[in-house]
């Protein structure tokens, strides 16, 4: 019978059976898939030691195993999956918790996009790579290229810039070593060609996930919340903009473009409360046009220019104290987190029905 072999992560080369490792669980996620035998739950994540980091898949996993703990793991094996070596745990694998600490070489904690925060800038993320855009730039006299994407997981979206490495748009990728930063109040991810990219066979369901306001943390996009609008800002309503620079004009002309004609626009800011917390929201014409029933023709009609009071009343009666669903992108400023909405709609009976199914799930 083959005896188990003790190996450091960096010493694992190729597919091997019956190995023991002493490693730290760096990230731990759970997924359910449908197999021929019915639903199957497995765990996956990253483990690491002083020599390196490796992804793992666990078909069987003790519930006591936790992230950031160090274990002596015996009877595991490695296999190549999509040309990348992974370590596998099954029902023979044994985990012995160790009390020692371990310095891991290169650790990037996994985050769902909604949980990204600037306290942890180098991260592992997963998501569907969408909206490719290529741009060239010069650095030290040399032409370089950057690929821009929107990364979307089941919780949120975030812009991603990949310097020098083209990703496969339309595929679900796991990116280890992306760097998180903030620009103009919004989060974004950057990655160099050294970041590790692994494509995973996951079909991201195109279903809307309604978030509880209390769980919103970072300035990420693609967020949907619901709730009652409990108040609307005094300065909401009709605004006048410069047709050249689009900035709000409080005077009779734009100070930078005095010759440019002015145009009417609408803007509002309000507070939404969903019972878990409340959130400040702002909205412009695109988000408001349907719900407030205000169209471009109404705003641009030279025969009957829009009336300030009328516009404010239209917006107020459409929003204030109603239950609404709001989609948008979160932004951070010195007042905290707020939502720039892209779409506002009324709560429908279908949405209430789908929320009711959550009660069933939760009470089991």
């Amino acid at each position: 019978m083959e005896s188990s072999k003790n190996l450091k992560i960096a010493e694992i080369k190729g597919e091997v059976m019956e190995i023991n490792v002493k490693a730290k669980i760096l990230s731990l996620s759970k997924r359910e898939v449908q197999s021929a035998k019915g639903p199957l739950t497995y765990h996956y994540g990253l483990i690491g030691d002083e020599t390196g980091v490796m992804p793992f898949t666990a078909w069987s996993f003790p519930t006591t195993v936790r992230e950031n703990d160090v274990y002596e793991i015996s009877k595991c094996y490695t296999k190549s999956y999509k040309e990348k070596l992974r370590i596998y745990f099954d029902n023979r694998t044994e985990f012995k918790l160790l009390t020692e600490t371990m310095e891991v070489k290169r650790t990037y904690k996994y985050y769902e996009i909604k949980d990204l925060n600037l306290n942890d800038k180098f991260v592992t993320v997963e998501g569907l790579v969408t909206s490719e855009n290529r741009r060239e730039y010069e650095k030290d006299g040399e032409k370089k290229e950057v690929f821009q994407y929107i990364l979307k997981d089941q919780t949120a979206t975030i812009p991603l810039s990949s310097f020098g490495k083209k990703l496969e748009a339309g595929k679900y990728a796991r990116i280890e070593g992306a760097r998180l930063d903030e620009f103009n109040g919004y989060y974004r991810l950057n990655m160099s060609d050294k970041a590790n990219v692994e494509y995973i066979n996951i079909d991201l369901k195109d279903e809307e996930k309604i978030m509880d306001i209390v769980n919103l943390r970072g300035a990420v996009g693609g967020i949907t919340v619901t709730g009652f609008i409990i108040n609307m800002g005094e300065k909401s309503g009709l605004v006048v903009r410069c047709s050249e620079c689009n900035l709000k004009v409080d005077d009779i002309r734009c100070s930078d473009h005095p010759e440019a004609p002015l145009k009417y626009d609408i803007f509002t800011y309000f507070t939404i409360d969903d019972g878990t917390d409340y959130l400040q929201v702002s909205a412009g014409f695109e988000a408001l046009k349907e719900i407030a029933n205000i169209n471009r023709e109404y705003l641009d009609n030279p025969q009957r220019p829009p009336l300030k009071k009328e516009v404010k009343e239209k917006i107020e009666s459409a929003l204030t104290h109603h239950a609404l669903k709001i989609k948008g992108n979160l932004r951070i400023n010195n007042m905290g987190i707020s939502l720039r909405s892209t779409e506002i709609s009324a709560i429908t009976e279908d949405l209430v029905k789908s929320l009711k199914t959550e009660i069933n799930g939760g009470s089991n």
Partner: protein, 272 residues
């Protein structure tokens, strides 16, 4: 300047608020504030609720309203002052049988026997649609369900702290409120709150319950002028037709879920 954080409005059913018999004091000296704490771990000084106005009375500068959801009644008292004329206009616009959403501050009155009554001082009153009310009911149920789950977890072991609850996915407020409520309402029976959740989940009512619906509704409606009718009295009236308790239970759940009746007192029902 960083804006002072607004006191959050808690979304709770009338039944949960009615079962609330304790308050807690928080803050230092002058900033000390009194918060209600419910047996299911919700705490605050402001609530948001929806329901039907079943009574509205105006006397001089005071307006009293009773607003019922499918679990009971909220009591609202408004005193007209110089600073709250916007709210006064909103209150003037609503009438009995209107479906409304109200945000208000809670005030407390304790009798010599120690019984506590909670009154709501409204800040916002507005007519809403039935769908909006349904939405509020479902979100309320989700919140209650989550807190009941936290309390079940706490009752498993005394060592459970807010960090442990946080690891299980409960929010900071849920963890804090449920730990406190578990200490303060040690013997409280969560059964009736759990029944509200059960009544709201997607459930296919039996043909018997659907057939009995109108009959039970008529019995309850007839007894509204007498302050409602008890469960036992309804069952007695239906016993000649061979109606069993479980069939009546289901029918009452159906009427409660549809917002047709509420529990005026323990096991005593009134039509909304």
């Amino acid at each position: 300047m960083i804006e002072k954080k607004r006191e959050p409005a808690r979304w709770i059913f009338a039944k949960e608020l009615r079962d609330t018999s304790l308050t807690i004091m928080e803050g230092d000296d002058e900033a000390r504030k009194e918060y209600f704490i419910t047996p299911a771990g919700s705490f605050g000084r402001r609530i948001l609720f929806c329901g039907k106005i079943t009574q509205k009375k105006e006397e001089n500068e005071m307006t009293k309203m009773t607003v019922a959801d499918h679990t009971g009644a909220f009591y609202v008292t408004f005193f007209s002052k110089e600073f709250n004329q916007n709210t006064k206009i909103q209150i003037e616009r609503v009438n009995e049988n209107d479906e409304v959403m109200i945000v208000g501050r809670t005030t407390y009155f304790k009798t010599n026997e120690g019984k506590m009554y909670i009154n709501i001082n409204p800040e916002t009153v507005r007519n809403i649609s039935e769908t909006d009310t349904e939405y509020w009911k479902v979100r309320c149920a989700l919140s209650l369900n989550s807190r009941l789950a936290a309390i079940r977890e706490i009752r498993k072991s005394q060592d459970i702290d807010d960090k442990h609850l946080g690891d299980l996915g409960f929010t900071q407020d849920e963890a804090r409120g449920c730990i406190k409520a578990s200490e303060l309402y040690e013997g409280y029976n969560m059964g009736q709150l759990e029944e509200i959740i059960a009544g709201m989940s997607v459930y296919q009512f039996s043909d018997t319950a659907i057939k009995l619906r109108e009959k039970v509704m008529d019995i309850i409606r007839e007894n509204n002028p007498f302050g409602g009718i008890t469960y036992e009295q309804i069952l007695e009236k239906l016993s000649k037709e061979g109606v069993e308790p479980r069939q009546l239970d289901e029918t009452l759940n159906l009427l409660g879920t549809d917002g047709e009746i509420f529990e005026a007192e323990k096991r005593k029902f009134k039509a909304i």
